[in-house]
């Protein structure tokens, strides 16, 4: 065990040294250009999915293209403790703005508080932090998940012609994104389509295989299903797989969210009917722009949402196929 502990220490040391080196080069370049803003970002878990991978790349690209911006790009690897220590490091480096992609909306609040006390404004990106942290942050930049849910409800309503019985496959239980999309969908559906009934909702855990199993059980339960709403396209395609294997896909409307490449392709084949287009690059650019505006001392909207338009078969030519 002793060996393991010391190796962890070594890794930590290496991390600190590289951070130090990073800040040193930043410091040097900062001297060369007086007006440069330094923005530090600690991300959730780069590499775990294509969205986050593309986000990081787009963030770096956008920073390179923008004059007078230096960035410190960190990744918490999904670990709350590491994210909190990264925030502490960024405070020590006295960056102008800290961007946080929370690993845990609740647990990062004290770290945000510490940054605010140190006089460094915090921008939260992609998924918001808990209510308790809201007064502490300068802005939130990301998708409006409630609105995305509402968009899906409107598309479902349109395509069903205002009448029908549907099932819902939600994301991981307990995730803010999953909850907000479900709420947005259910509330809006009741408004625009009171005659569309949600037969049942079950989680698909953002996992296509799990969503497929859930849909198989829905197909056993209900002899007639007119539509399926899935919390993202990955699960939506799982539901489509299940319906196709029982030759019942034709009778259904499939609506998802966060358009994935597989969803885009299924839409092109006419099997999948609607989704919400959420570009990670747009997400990253919006976060950087918001952070720069905060650094310049400009007034920014507390909720700085970026546009996530509806995508259907009719308008899909206007969008590029998603990279994930």
């Amino acid at each position: 065990m002793k060996v393991q502990i010391s190796s962890v220490r070594i890794i930590q040391h290496i991390g600190k040294i590289s951070l130090l080196a990073g800040s040193l080069t930043l410091g040097l370049s900062g001297m060369a250009q007086a007006e440069t803003f330094r923005i530090g970002i600690t991300q959730n878990n780069v590499g775990v999915d294509s969205y986050q991978t593309t986000y990081e790349q787009a963030f770096k690209d956008a920073a390179d293209e923008t004059d007078n911006v230096e960035t410190v790009v960190l990744d918490a690897g999904g670990d709350v403790a590491r994210q909190i220590s990264q925030v502490r490091d960024l405070i020590q480096q006295q960056v102008d703005v800290i961007i946080i992609w929370p690993t845990d909306g609740q647990a990062v609040v004290p770290a945000v508080k510490r940054a605010k006390e140190a006089g460094i404004p915090v921008v939260v990106t992609n998924s918001n932090i808990a209510e308790a942290g809201q007064p502490l942050i300068a802005a939130f930049s990301g998708p409006d998940n409630i609105k995305q849910g509402a968009y899906s409800a409107e598309m479902m309503c349109d395509q069903l012609g205002g009448k029908g019985e549907i099932v819902q496959i939600t994301g991981q239980p307990g995730y803010t994104t999953a909850k907000e999309r479900q709420k947005g969908f259910e509330d809006r559906l009741a408004e625009v389509c009171p005659d569309v009934k949600i037969l049942d909702s079950q989680p698909g855990n953002w996992n296509r295989e799990k969503a497929q199993r859930t849909m198989e059980d829905f197909l056993t339960s209900y002899d007639r299903i007119d539509g399926v709403y899935a919390g993202d396209d990955n699960m939506g395609v799982g539901a489509l797989n299940a319906a196709k294997s029982e030759d019942r896909a034709d009778e259904m409307i499939f609506i998802g969210a966060t358009n994935f490449a597989v969803g885009y392709e299924a839409m092109a084949r006419g099997e999948y009917h609607g989704s919400v287009y959420q570009s990670p690059a747009e997400d990253a650019r919006n976060a950087l722009e918001t952070a720069i505006a905060v650094a310049q001392g400009k007034e920014v909207e507390k909720m700085s949402y970026f546009d996530t338009p509806k995508i259907t078969r009719e308008n899909m030519d206007e969008f590029e196929k998603p990279v994930f």
């Binding site: 780069v46 999915d49 294509s50 991978t53 996992n207 296509r208 339960s221 990955n234 294997s245 490449a261």
Partner: protein, 333 residues
């Protein structure tokens, strides 16, 4: 050792059996039929051939892995790495499918999956490291390898209508879904291996009493190594089913599956300390978990009821097992 003796000396079972021992021995089978009866009475959709095969098919991924893991557990070890190994294998076979064709992708996937299994087997068998620590570490390490391999992207089979790869997850043979068939056939083969071959008996022996087995001339290291190869092999079979069923994969597709697998194995009465267990009962254990999930969803109950019921069933099964062994329901000290 007692359980081992029971399963190999049928003559012993002629002794008088108390009701407690009966329930301890057959409790899992009774629970299985109880589940079937309850769900059949409460929902009219449950009891049909279609739904039965559906449940077996849904259980096939977890179930096939659990078959190999049962050997590992009987041998006195644990395998927590199967979840991320499943992610790795599925990502690999799906990604290679479009690059080199299914005919090459499948053997390559088996080779790399068995390679990882042999790393587990080497560390635990030959270096005698603690299996919990090794496989817990492998769980993260394999996840890392998978992420590096894909760069975080999902992988998909581009033309899923025109490939023979679809038989493993979507095909039918004699009216039975192929995933269910793979699961059942592997179970029968491995049950025979466990009970009728010297390999099976040796695995019981090293799990029951490693020292005694050593003095009897068994090569513990090689046997442990083989059990991990076996669990990697069944995981690769499960990856074949998963990849073909979904026609795509994501990096964390098997996340948490290791615990479902272990739950099925424990529910089947395989002792976590090693030395006793059975493939048939693992199959029943896995099927019970799948039945609970299927039945409760057909009843329209929310998802968390499944977690609660699953927990209650596992506790009841473990309790019955222990109570039957000590001959009393409650511990007297």
């Amino acid at each position: 050792m007692k359980a081992l003796l029971d399963s190999f000396r049928p003559g012993l079972t002629n002794r008088e059996i108390t009701p407690l021992q009966f329930f301890g021995k057959h409790g899992i089978t009774i629970a299985f039929f109880l589940c079937v009866v309850i769900f059949s009475l409460t929902t009219d959709k449950f009891l049909s051939t279609d739904n039965f095969f559906k449940v077996v098919m849904q259980a096939s991924i977890i179930g096939t892995i659990a078959l190999g893991v049962t050997f590992v557990v009987i041998g006195g070890n644990l395998d927590l790495s199967v979840g991320s190994l499943l992610s790795f294998a599925t990502v690999l076979v799906v990604d290679l499918h479009d690059k080199v064709g299914p005919g090459m992708a499948i053997p390559l996937m088996f080779v790399f999956t068995l390679l990882i299994g042999s790393v587990n087997g080497f560390l635990i068998g030959y270096l005698r490291l603690n299996s919990l620590i090794v496989t817990l570490g492998m769980l993260s390490a394999i996840q890392g390898i998978t992420l590096v391999y894909t760069g975080g992207k999902n992988v998909d089979i581009s033309n899923d209508e025109n490939t023979w790869f679809d038989i493993f997850g979507r095909g039918d043979l004699f009216g039975i879904p192929v995933p269910a068939l793979i699961f059942i056939v592997s179970a029968i083969v491995l049950q025979v291996v466990l009970l009728k071959t010297s390999f099976g008996r040796k695995v019981f022996a090293i799990g029951g009493n490693g020292t005694a087995a050593l003095f009897s001339g068994l090569r513990r290291n090689r046997l442990v190594f083989s059990t991990y190869l076996l669990s990697a092999f069944t995981t690769a079979c499960a990856a074949l089913i998963l990849g073909s069923r979904v026609m795509g994969s994501q990096n964390n597709v098997g996340q948490g599956y290791e615990l479902l697998v272990l739950a099925g194995v424990i529910l089947g009465g395989t002792s976590l300390l090693g030395g006793s267990g059975s493939i048939v009962r693992t199959v029943i254990g896995v099927l019970i978990l799948a039945l609970i999930q299927n039945g409760l969803q057909l009843l329209g109950y929310p998802y968390y009821s499944q977690w609660l019921v699953t927990w209650v069933v596992i506790i009841a099964a473990v309790w019955l097992d222990i109570a039957a062994k000590r001959g009393k329901l409650f511990s007297s000290y």
